[in-house]
Amino acid sequence: MSIDTATAAKVAKLARIRVEEDDLPALAQEFNTILGFIEQLNEVDVEGVEPMVSVTPMRLKRRIDDVTDGNQQDKVLANAPDAREGFFAVPKVVE
């Protein structure tokens, strides 16, 4: 399995990380190195083994569906790069 620059560009797009055109070949090369290392997993016989879901065999707890928190709009917005009139502000997303 070899990653070409087009695949590297696609992965960068999916990850929403801008990568300049000139940097794509080096990135593809790094992916190939890492994926080459990961390929070793193909040597393992995993027939009949279930993929691990939880490392400790415990049932996730349930809780009562109550409202236990809220009314802290100012705190929620306190770290926003751009907050206006009680909302997070972002570039226009609908025409």
Partner: protein, 494 residues
């Protein structure tokens, strides 16, 4: 009297209770030590005012006479922990300026017990690294040097600042986190103790997430006893973390008898790596003898899937990271890129993340994105999760055979130099070869300083225990610590 900042937690506790010292005195000693230690790059956000207020409150509590063990103890907190009103940015540019409105459960537990926070500690960005070189703050530096050389060495990573601060006596103990070895490898590189408890012992709430199925917090301390004391305070059942264990937390310190007669220690043959330095091999053999001399039974064991732990980790951890780090989008907190004319929301995301994340973080997020993408999910991610199940099964089988703990080297080498040319990212990943199995299997593991190499650098051994039996594991570590008698300290140059 020795400088107060060089005390262990246990010594400080006893002196505080005997009214020989005050928390404020301890805190001032540490703040002084920190002030003169910029060259170590350990503390990246200083909170002296908060520390003094907490110390005064601790002294008032101590005066009343019912103070818990950790009351009045000055600590450093890894930058991965969200601390209310104090910068918490996981050593990343993307969280520049972020001041949480809430406190992580682990740091809250420590504060509830009366502990003092001196400041935030350096680390690899988002805990991704083994040398503390991916930090936006710059490198943390190991207080140890090779003989008379001045070459700057890594304190390891990702909890490099924690390791450096504790080894240099800037604080009495520090919090760390461990996803693939990030407590144990740095602890070994600086000659201190570091324990990663069983997955679920410490709440992950308020700790910036890297790989949620692997991340665990733990203490980094000068002694095994201190690790027992601090770990007990850090652990709790927390309804805010659904994977937090609803189990009673034992008095770990009370379990330190040093008596390991009749215990069975397994030596896994798969941990004998090609190209492993002789000194590590010798240290491991010495550790085996020390435990045997203390009355433990030593048995050879096999953990056949060990070789596949690192490749499985480098699928699972990046996959989880790509999902966890999707939240850094420039909308709710941290950095947002400047927009150009005509840029829409997608450009904002892409530019923000390109500017905010460092190279290693980007690499892992993209690898994670790739292994989770349509067409590859089964071949990579599901296969890695199957291999993970086999790695866990390996341990279950040896524990079923009566093994109480497994003894291995902690790291494949002593601390290496900062700035080493690394064109191959996989080379750095090999640092975690002995520690990463423990995270994949969710087990407790502890690194104990056991000796010095011929250049005078500390080396550590790792003990791996049964799930939820940190008390027993700490006791075995205590026996090893007693036998090894490691008392060396770095010579102050900073």
């Amino acid at each position: 009297m020795a400088e107060l900042n060089t005390l262990t937690i246990a010594e400080a506790r006893d002196k505080l209770r005997a009214k020989d010292v005050t928390s404020l005195e301890l805190t001032e000693a540490c703040l002084n030590a920190i002030e003169g230690a910029d060259a170590l790059g350990a503390f990246v956000h200083h909170t002296p005012d908060l520390a003094r207020d907490q110390a005064k409150a601790a002294d008032a509590r101590l005066a009343k006479g019912d103070a818990p063990n950790m009351c009045g103890i000055p600590l450093g907190i890894k930058d991965l922990f969200c601390t209310k009103g104090v910068p918490s940015q996981a050593a990343s540019g993307i969280l520049n300026g972020f001041k949480p409105e809430y406190e992580s459960t682990v740091s809250q537990n420590l504060f509830d017990a009366g502990s003092v926070m001196l400041g935030k500690l350096n680390m690899d960005e988002f805990a991704m690294g083994s040398s503390n070189e991916t930090s936006v703050y710059g490198n943390a530096v190991n207080p140890w040097r090779r003989g008379n050389e001045e070459t700057a060495l890594t304190p390891g990573g990702s909890s490099g600042g924690s390791a450096s601060a504790v080894a240099a006596d800037l604080c009495l103990g520090a919090t760390g986190t461990d996803t693939g070895g990030s407590i144990r490898q740095p602890a070994a590189f600086v000659g201190i103790t570091g324990i990663k408890p069983t997955y679920g012992r410490c709440s992950r709430w308020g700790i910036v997430a890297f790989a949620s199925s692997l991340d665990q917090a733990g203490p980094m301390t000068k002694t095994v006893r201190d690790a027992a004391i601090m770990l007990e305070t850090m652990c709790s059942h927390d309804p805010k973390d659904s994977t937090s264990a609803d189990l009673a937390v034992p008095d770990f310190e009370a379990m330190l008898t040093g008596d390991i007669r009749g215990k069975t220690i397994g030596i896994p043959k798969e941990y004998r790596m090609d190209g492993m330095p002789d000194e590590i091999e010798t240290l491991w053999a010495q550790g085996k003898d020390m435990l045997a001399d203390a009355g433990a039974k030593i048995v050879d064991i096999s953990l056949p899937h060990t070789k596949y732990a690192l490749p499985a980790y480098y699928v699972i951890a990046p996959a989880e990271a790509s999902s966890n780090l999707a939240r850094y989008d420039g909308v709710r907190y941290g950095h947002r890129a400047q927009m150009a004319q005509g840029d829409g929301i997608t450009e904002m995301y892409e530019k923000t993340r390109a500017e905010g994340f460092g190279a290693e973080v980007k690499r892992r997020v993209m690898i994670g994105t790739y292994v989770l993408s349509a067409g590859f999910y089964d071949a990579y991610y599901n296969r890695a999760r199957r291999v993970r199940a086999l790695i866990k099964r390996d341990f279950e089988e040896v524990f079923d055979q009566g093994v109480d703990a497994v003894l291995t080297p902690a790291t494949p080498s002593a601390a290496f130099e900062l700035g080493r040319e690394t064109s191959d990212p996989v080379e750095m990943y090999l640092n975690d070869v002995f520690t990463v199995t423990v995270n994949l299997a969710g087990l407790p593991g502890i690194a104990v300083p056991t000796g010095l190499d011929k250049q005078g650098l500390p080396l550590g051994l790792q003990l791996i225990g049964r799930p939820w039996e940190e008390g027993d594991l700490l006791n075995t570590a205590y026996a090893l610590e007693n036998a090894a008698g490691f008392v060396a300290k770095p010579t102050k140059w900073w």
